[in-house]
Every structure is written in C-alpha cells, then in structure tokens.
C-alpha cells in the first residue's frame, strides 16, 4: 500500500506547481493589496511569474530525482499499472491535459496583440566623473545652518518637485499618474538612500536630457533644472528632499 501511495509523487509535484501558480496569480496580488493598504490588487509581474514558475518546476524535478527510488516512483505514475481507479483517472487527465496546456500556451503567445515592450531598466545611470568629487557645501556647516538649509530646501522641494514626486516625497504627486514610468518614491529604501547626494545633484541639474549614452533608451521625464535653479538651491533641495522622505543619503566610507 505504501508503495502504491509513493507512485503518486508525480501528482504531488504537479499539485505543488499548480498551487504555486495559483498563489502567484491570485493570492499574492490580494495579499499585497491588504498588506500595503492599496485600493487595487498588486499583480505579479509576468517576468517574475515566469522565473518563479521555472524555479517551482525545477525544484519539483530536483526533488523527484534525489534518489533512484523517487525517480522510479515519479516515472512509474505514467506507466500502465494495476493501480487504484483514481490513478487511472488522473493518468487520463494528464495525457489529455498536458497537450491542451501546451497548446494553450502556444496559442496565447502567438496570437497578435498590442502590448508595450518589456524593458530592462537600469536603476542608477552612470554618474559622470565631473560630478563624482562634488561635495554638498552645506553638509559641513554648523547645525543651525544645516537646519535652515533643510527648511529652505523643503520649501523649494514643495515648489519645484512636489507636482511629480509628491508632498511626502513618495512619488504620488498630482502629475504622477500622467507618466508611463511613475516618479520615484524617495521613501523606498532602495532609491535615494542608496546613492551619495552629489548623485542627486547631477540628476536634478541635468535631468532626463543629461542621461548618459550607455544603457539607452532611458525612460525619464525628469526635467533639467540647470537653467532654472542655482547650484546652492539644488543642494538645499537635496537636503530637504532627504528630510521629507525620512531617509539619509549614502555616506562616503573610509577605506579599511
């Protein structure tokens, strides 16, 4: 009896893979909607879905082949045998269902449709050498001056940056929805907290038009502010921006 049960390893692995698919497709968008307090589900991106499914299938195959006995059990499900009726029934489902599934995939991938292309984004464009050695002149000032610069910077941020980046620097400004790629949420720990503040100086000063030729095409609606803002104002905006977002710029480390 025990051996007969083991011959269902094939089915168990298929069940696990299907469960993974259902989780990624239906459960996780809802779970994230609740956890993040969103008004809409957060669908799993197709690329990630594909990667995770490949890993799920791979994990199943790895497990099924970790011993000769498991491998035999795994394959035995597909062989005609005097098993219980349920096995006979499931075999038929697999023999019919698998080609249908493959056909469905082929059909959905090959039918003509309109979709914007998937892009490989680069998070941090390469900072030009001219900007690498710059220092924020107000970071070394006394505490009162720094506080004053932050407050001035916050006002400038609300004046110039808020429409897109939002009053809380969370990327939810009034214009945010009009962009294909939404403005960056600076509160996210993976954004401005990971770069030194002269990086921001470059991005504000040069904007989208000043992005380097490497890793093109860029998808940035960021304007260039060099004709509108003085350098000191840009440094103040940076200080105000970090303060508003509640994060700190990456600090230069001493070499060990």
């Amino acid at each position: 009896m025990a051996n007969k049960r083991k011959t269902f390893l094939f089915i168990w692995i298929i069940t696990a893979v299907v469960c993974l698919f259902l989780f990624l497709k239906y459960a996780s968008p809802k779970i994230f909607q609740v956890l993040m307090g969103k008004g809409h589900p957060m669908p799993t991106p197709s690329t990630l879905m594909m990667w995770y499914m490949i890993m799920g299938v791979l994990a199943g195959l790895v497990y099924a082949t970790t011993s000769n006995q498991k491998f035999v059990d795994f394959l035995s499900f597909l062989l005609p045998d005097q098993g219980p009726r349920i096995k006979f029934f499931l075999q038929k489902i697999i023999f019919v269902g698998f080609p249908v599934l493959v056909g469905w995939f082929v059909y959905t991938w090959s039918i003509p449709g309109a979709a914007s292309p998937v892009e490989l984004r680069i998070q941090h464009p390469t900072l030009p050498q001219d900007f690498e050695k710059l220092e924020n002149p107000f970071r070394q000032a006394d505490a009162d001056t720094q506080r004053r610069c932050i407050e001035e910077g916050k006002i400038l941020f609300q004046t110039y940056c808020r429409p897109c980046h939002g009053s809380k620097a969370d990327g939810n400004g009034p214009f945010a929805n009009s962009f294909r790629l939404r403005p960056i949420n600076f509160q996210d720990p993976g954004t401005i907290a990971t770069v030194v503040d002269n990086y921001l100086f470059w991005r504000i000063k040069e904007g989208g038009p000043g992005l380097p030729s490497e890793s093109t095409p860029w998808d940035s609606g960021m304007p260039s502010w060099k004709d509108d803002l003085k350098d000191d104002d840009i440094w103040k905006i940076i200080m105000g921006e970090y303060d508003t977002a509640g994060v700190m710029p990456r600090q230069r480390e001493k070499l060990e």
């Binding site: 996780s28 994230f32 993040m36 969103k38 809409h40 957060m42 669908p43 799993t44 991106p45 690329t47 990630l48 990667w51 995770y52 890993m55 799920g56 994990a59 790895v62 497990y63 082949t65 970790t66 011993s67 000769n68 979709a115 914007s116 292309p117 998937v118 892009e119 984004r121 680069i122 998070q123 941090h124 464009p125 390469t126 900072l127 050498q129 001219d130 690498e132 990327g171 294909r180 790629l181 939404r182 949420n185 996210d188 720990p189 993976g190 907290a193 990971t194 770069v195 990086y199 490497e214 890793s215 509640g246 994060v247 700190m248 990456r250 600090q251 230069r252 480390e253 070499l255 060990e256």
Partner: protein, 715 residues
Amino acid sequence: MNNLKILLQLTKRSAFVVVLLFFLSLALPMPSSQNVIAGDVLAEEVKEGGGVELPQFEAGQSPVSPQSPEGQPAEGAEAGVAGGEEEEMAPVQYRAFFGMDSRTVVWIVSELHLMFAAFVLGVPIFAVIVEIVGFKGGDIKYDKMAKEFTKLLSAAFATTASLGGLLGFCLFGLYPEFMGHMTNVFAPTMYVYALMFFGEAFTLYAYYYSWEILKGTAARKWFHITLGVLLNLFGTGLMFLTNSWATYMMSPAGIVPATGKVLSLYHAFYNPLWMPVNIHRLIANVCFGGFVVGAYAAVKFLGAKTEEEKAHYDWMGYVGNFIGVGALIPLPFAGYWLGREVYSASPVMGNIMMGGAFSWTFIIQAILIGMLFIGANYYLWLGMGRIRGSERYTKFIKYLVFVIFMCFAVWLTPHNLPLSGEERAMIGEQYHPFSKYFGVMAAKNAVVNLIILSTFFSFLIYRRSNKGEMVPFSEQGRAGKIGIFSVLIFCLLMLVSYAISLNFVELEANIKVFVKPLIRALYIQSFAVCLAVFLTFKNRGKLAQAMLFGVTACIAVLYFWYYGFEVMQKANLVLRYLSVTQVSIVMSCLIMNAVIDIFMFRKAKLVGGIAWGKMPVRSQYALILLCVVIVILMGLMGFIRSGLRMDWHIYGVLQDTSQWAYTPTLAFMGRIVGLIVALFLGLVTFVFWLANLGEKKEKGVLKEGCELAEPHPEH
C-alpha cells in the same frame, strides 16, 4: 605503441604548424616596428629629462578624439596632417591585433590565463592538505589522490605560463602607452614576479617528480610536504603581486593623478582594493579548482571500465565537490567585502556595479551562484543513496529543497523588474513588493546566509548517514571536552571581541545608535553558543545543534533581513558592521555545530559503509554542470571587475581613448564569455588528456600488479 604513434603524428603536425607560422610571419608586414622604436626614443628622452614622470593625463579630462590602431588619429581628425618625421616620432598609444578589436583580444587571453591560473593556484592548496591528511591518517588512498591532483596541475602549469606570456605580449604590443605607465609604477615588482615564477616552477616540478622518491620515512614525507607548502607560498605570492596591478587599475593610489608621477610604490601596490581581491581570489581559486577536479573525476567515472575505477573516481568526485562547496560557503562573504570596498573606493563605481550598467550582470551571477549551491546540494543528496543508513535522514531533503529554492527565488529577484507599460500601470508604483523587499541587498544577504546554513545542514545529514546512534558525550573522554572548549573560546573571542570593538567605532551619535542592536545580537549569539556547549555536555547534542541553528537563523536571516532595510534608509555606514556581524554569527554556528557533530559521532558504530561507485549517472552530470557553472561565473565576474572601470585604463587617471572604449552590451558580453568558457573547457580537456597519455601506457604494463583498492569507508 598506439600512444607513440599519436605522439609522432602530433610532432609532425606541430612541425608543420611551426613552419607555416614561420612563413606567415615572413609574409606579413611588420608595420609597428618603426613606431616601437619611436616610442623607445621618446622613452629615452623622458629618461634624460630625469625622474619617473609619466605622460600627462588630466583627471576628468574629456576624451580626445578616438584613436585608430597604430596611434593614428581617427578619420577626419586634423592631427593627421602632421609631417612625416613628426609622425614617426609620435608615441604609439594603441595598436590593433591583425585588424581585430584589441580590447576583446586582451579580454579573451587574460581571462583564459586567469582561469588556468586559478586552477594552478587553487589545486596545490588542497593537494597539500589531502597529502597531509593521508600522511597523518596513514591512508595511502589520500596520497594517491593528492598525486593525481598534482599531475593535473603540472599539465596545466605550462599552459598557464604560455597564456601569461601571450597576455604580456598582447598588452605591451597593443596598449604600449598604458603598459608604459604600469611599468613605470610597478617595474620593481615585475622583477620580483619573474623571480617568484622561477620559485613556483621549480617547487611545482620538484613537488610532483619527487613524490615517489620522498616516500618511506616521515622526514622525507615532511620534506615533500614542505615543498608543497613552498609551492603554495610562491603561487599565492605571484597572485598577490599581479592582483596589485589589476586593483591599481581600479583604485589607483600612490601617484599624482594629474601627472602620473609615482609618489609611493607601497601605496600603489597596497591600494584600497588589493586585499579584498586577494582574499576573494584565494578562496575562489580553491572553489574553482575543487569543481574542475570534480568534473575531471566525473568524466573518468563515466568512462570507467571497472568497479574499482568507478569507486576511485566516485570518491575523487566527492572530494572535489566537498572542496568546492567548502570554499563556496565563505565566498559570498569575501565577495560582499570586495563589493563594499568598491563602493568605498568610488561610490560611482559602486553604483555602476550594483545599480547601474552592470546590475543585470549580477542577476546572471545570482542565477549561477544559485545553480552552484543547488548542484552541490543535489550531489550530496544523491550521494546519500550509496550510504546504507541514510534512509533515516532523507525525509529532510524535501524541506531543504523547499528552503533552498525559496532562497534562490529571493536571491535572483531584481530590484528593477522588467515591466511592460500595462504592468506598471496596474502596479501603480515603481516597485512591485516582491522586487521592493526581495531585490535589495538586505534580503540577498539574509537568503544567502540561509542557503549556506541549509547547505551545511545537508552536509551534516550526509556525514551522519553512515553513523549509528551517537555515543554519549560523557564517554568521549578528554579530547572531546578540550576540543569543544577550544572551539567555544574561539567563537566567543570572535563574537565578543567584535561586539566590544563595535562600541568604539567612530560614528556620529545619530548613526551610532544603529550599532547597538548588532552588539546585542552578538551577545545573544555568544550566549547561544555557550548554551549549545552546555547542552552537549549534558548529552543533548542534537538539541544543542537545533537550538543553535534556530537562534542563528532568527538573528542572521530573519532579524537582519528586517534590520538591513532599517539601516539602508537611515545609516548606510552601519551596513558594513551589519554584514560582518551577520558573517560572524553564521560562522560561529557552522563551526560550533560541526565540532559538536564530530564529537557526538566520533565513536559511533558505522551502519553499513559507503558503497563507492554506486552513484547514479546523473550525479556525475551534476559535477560536470558545477564545473561549467563555476567557469562561466569566473568569466562573468572577470568581465564585471574589469569592466567597472568603463572607459578608463586606470580609473580616474589614464583614460582609454581608443575606438574600443565603450562598455559592451550584455549580448556581446555573453558571446565573448561563452567563447572563453568553451575555449577554457576545450583546452583543459586537451591538457588533461595529454596528462593521462603516460598513465594509460603505465597501466597497460602494470595492470597485473596494480590494484586500485577501495577508498576509505569513512568518507
């Protein structure tokens, strides 16, 4: 006889190739000779001027018009109108390799050289260790295997040297100005390099060819082992020397950047990235050597005709995998340290690496590292099939598969996902939660530590498979107590001393508060290690191990995953201390649990021995896959390390103004790395085949007398 014929044929063909090359060299024009002389004349003039001042390079200077090969300005440039005589005197910046892209030529040759060098430097480290183990344990099989490793080594050594020579010629020929700079800075170390190379060659051949002569007495054997140690010292010294040249190109020091004038050779040599690269390469070489040897054993296993041969190569493959995994475990820590120092040396280079143009190469790296861990674990799980008694532990495999694949999924999730416009609109913000929480370094560090803990657990159940019930610790005698106490003291020293040192780090008060949780975590782990020892002494060793695994996973994986986010946002300077804390905690768990396991099962009865050679064929393909993956990984990481300099020969000092000064696309990189991998695997197969030619003949003659005994059942 057949081999003799083959050799004769090879000799004839080689002679033909040499004659062909000779005629080709006569037929080909030698356009660069005049320029070389011109360059030499200029160098002489510089010398007469006194000092070691180099050609002037302004830091941050905008690139001059791209130069075509032979140092001539690109088409349309006005400089082309210079008079004939002046042209002859102009120093040559770049040459082309028979019309090919010089950068790609140097890339391929240097990577091939590095791969062979990694093998040649990594294998002697474990060959000597295996020899010592065999000598101390009195098991001749270890000695035989160590000699077999060294046989492969001596075969690969000549190829490494040839490729090194070719690389030198390519660099001096194709990039004369750059190499002029390097020679001016590093000339004294180059002589030392040559001398050490002699040392390496002499000790290697002495080590290999004196193997049989220096057998018999303990004194002779120790002398032989000393030769092996010397070989390692010379090899490591050579690598450290060349590393200083390579890392100087990334983080130059000890010179005046504007003029290139040498101020301190010591600082140029001991530049900021030198030691991180040394450590990383040292460990990676062992890992590389282990997996290549594992693949060699797998190929031999697949072609084995007898059960004895199968048993021998199965064992050898196991040892290769063991060495590869053993070195793979600390490798992410060393890599992380190197990455941090790259950030410290230049935040721009750091951003290019992890968030910029090279970020996608790290996704490929994540896939490759994941494959290494999965492949190594898979091999161990399959290996349990040949151990009678392993049935008691196979139930854990499904959980390990689950945990490792979950970690792998997090490990390769990018922060920036490829999204279509529709998906972006549906998600409603820039980052999907998966990429937001799995895509940053805090998550990656957490899961890589969990993968390491899981791999270690796989190894523990593998080594227990052959053991019966554990012997109570109270019956282990003084050795057990002293052993566990020594390790306890080591772990406490590591954890507590680091915790104390964290109290004195120089940080601003608002940042220093973020260090406190790290100190608390170190003390909690110290307490857990003490408790584990206490439980072991009370004959509850298994509980002690489980408790230590649990505490470590809670702190180093779960808590630091969360806390990493916190620190990332508010105090990036603390990330450095967080990662060291994480490493220390995980290492203390691995070391203590390993020692507890050794003493718990030291006198345990063997359940049924290991049936060496009874491995499914797919396990051998797993070994071959591991080798291919580590070779691809080394090719990829070589590209990243070198490519981070973007369009600089020497970052921020000497700009690459050649027509090849651009970062290749991922597709181009993939093709070249693929070519390098194919070339390396092809060459290494050929070299190993050559190394075995003599052995076949020997076996044919001595077949009757030679007996390949079973490897030791304990392993």
